[in-house]
Symmetry: C2
Subunit: 308 residues, 2 copies
């Protein structure tokens, strides 16, 4: 099978948006609109780093797209298109079929188009470049946090890191934790509701401590957070209670929950969003004038995810 | 060094265009214009497939960006932005420094912005997603070839494949051929001049035979080309004369020259472009009604580059 046939068979889907041509020419062409800005981000998933050798093709495809959707979500943008650079050690058709089905399923859920790609032979690696739109000037940035803003996180933190740890120790995590690791739900809808409400926003991919610190440094502010306020799922709470290993929540990353800051005047809107979406948004601290992140209750330094 | 420091040190450059924020937030934001369309493409380079283990970081960076510029060129688009997904086996600072300098140098030449990226640990792999603009409706497509159009290629064909072959056989190609392999010049200016002149265009990355066939199938036409008309550099001409190995020109790829079709009424414009840019544009055949590609003078089947 040549690349062209591979694309035709596995990656030639329908279009939701105005794409003049997608797979089948040198480039894809996208119509633009003067009221919107294009928002784009890229993420690579590597075997052994972002997923284990036992991870299914379906889970890999899901996560590769989900983490990119999460980056767009953190900007309050609407995802529209993506390109896929897929490097495979061999042409494994059952694997490709499972991969493309899963990718297509998630793409359909968010109504986004696969508009281009490249397939190469090599160590398994998936790079997705996602492209979305946001109303001009409305994007949620890391740089907008204001002193006295309240800091929130969505849902529970540390579940994916806890699942990784279980797998590392030879245990099989329960479905809930496996899903948190392999099928993180991108908070696209939440982020869109936060446009005009949150002053700053980031998705927690590398760990709460590290990612919140990005907001703080970009906004030139500091923060105090209370470790006891961090929302935890039951097993993670029990695990931390037993081991005092708070780093699983502070430095774990990979949950792709959102961390955002909101002025006190708008916290009623946060409550409304919480109810409307049926999710939990938890205030874990406050933005301060003095720079740096102070974590009340933590007596050690956690090692957040490092790319090298 | 964490990823943030790595980006700051090696990949935080100036902006040429209206990019609200680039490296430093979840996504980059691009202003759009209602008179233009966004054009995007992605290509991955893998060690052992697209470059040898001895290739310098500078050459790898150059080629990774050049092949993407070439894809945009094939559409007649103006390159503006790119994202970089870089997978490295280790954090090698001299390598990174050389890589980023070379990438920056080429980016400056075309005045394009690096607007996002991801760095991961793994087998060496470089994925660049390039984004450009084209006036709405003006892109050069593969699908526009008309019966009786003349088929042209730019410069000479087969040089990169010949260089690969020399390296494979343990010979050191001369600088001209090494540059044709490692430093292909993207035909951005040529393609922009071809807007409104050419009916169809593609860049020859996988081999003339295969890439021209993409034009033919997308345009639902055929072609007759004359093997003796294919423009060859001196050493390649001598090599083919000796070996009759025409496949080096027909199936080699990797030169990133353009193949395009032009109606007979417009061939004077091709001559003008040739003079203005000081390049050679050679008519190698004609578009026919009967489908398929007929190659006069070829008595064997070449194996074009296959991704698997």
């Amino acid at each position: 099978m040549n690349e062209f046939e591979l694309i035709e068979r596995y990656f030639n889907w329908v279009s939701y948006h105005s794409v003049d041509l997608s797979v089948g020419d040198d480039c894809a062409i996208i119509d633009t609109n003067s009221n919107t800005q294009i928002v784009t981000s890229v993420d690579t998933l590597i075997e052994g780093v972002h997923f284990s050798q036992n991870t299914s093709a379906a889970d890999i495809a899901y996560k590769a797209l989900a983490v990119n959707l999460s980056d767009l979500a953190a900007m309050g943008a609407t995802p529209k298109y993506f390109t896929l650079a897929l490097t495979l050690p061999e042409l494994n058709e059952p694997w490709l079929s499972e991969f493309s089905e899963s990718l297509k399923h998630l793409a359909e859920e968010y109504q986004i188009d696969l508009i281009g790609g490249d397939t190469t032979k090599g160590a398994l690696s998936i790079t997705i470049n996602i492209i979305g739109e946001v109303e001009t000037g409305k994007a949620l940035l890391r740089s907008g946090a204001q002193v006295n803003d309240l800091i929130y996180v969505s849902n529970t933190i540390g579940d994916a890191a806890y699942a990784w740890q279980q797998i590392d120790q030879g245990n099989k995590p329960s479905d809930f934790y496996l899903n948190r690791l392999n099928r993180p739900k991108p908070n696209v809808e939440l982020a869109q509701q936060l446009v005009g409400v949150a002053n700053a926003c980031i998705d927690i991919s590398d760990g709460l401590e590290q990612d919140l610190s990005h907001i703080l440094s970009r906004s030139k502010v500091g923060a105090n957070i209370d470790i006891e306020a961090i929302p935890l799922s039951d097993e993670v709470a029990t695990y931390i209670d037993t081991t005092q290993d708070w780093c699983v929540a502070l430095a774990g990353g990979d949950d792709y929950e959102l961390c955002f800051s909101v002025s006190k005047e708008k916290i009623n809107k946060v409550t409304l969003i919480e109810k409307e979406l049926g999710i939990t948004l938890t205030n874990i601290g406050v933005v301060t004038k003095s720079q740096g992140l102070k974590i009340k209750g933590l007596d050690k330094i956690c090692q957040s995810y490092q790319h090298f």
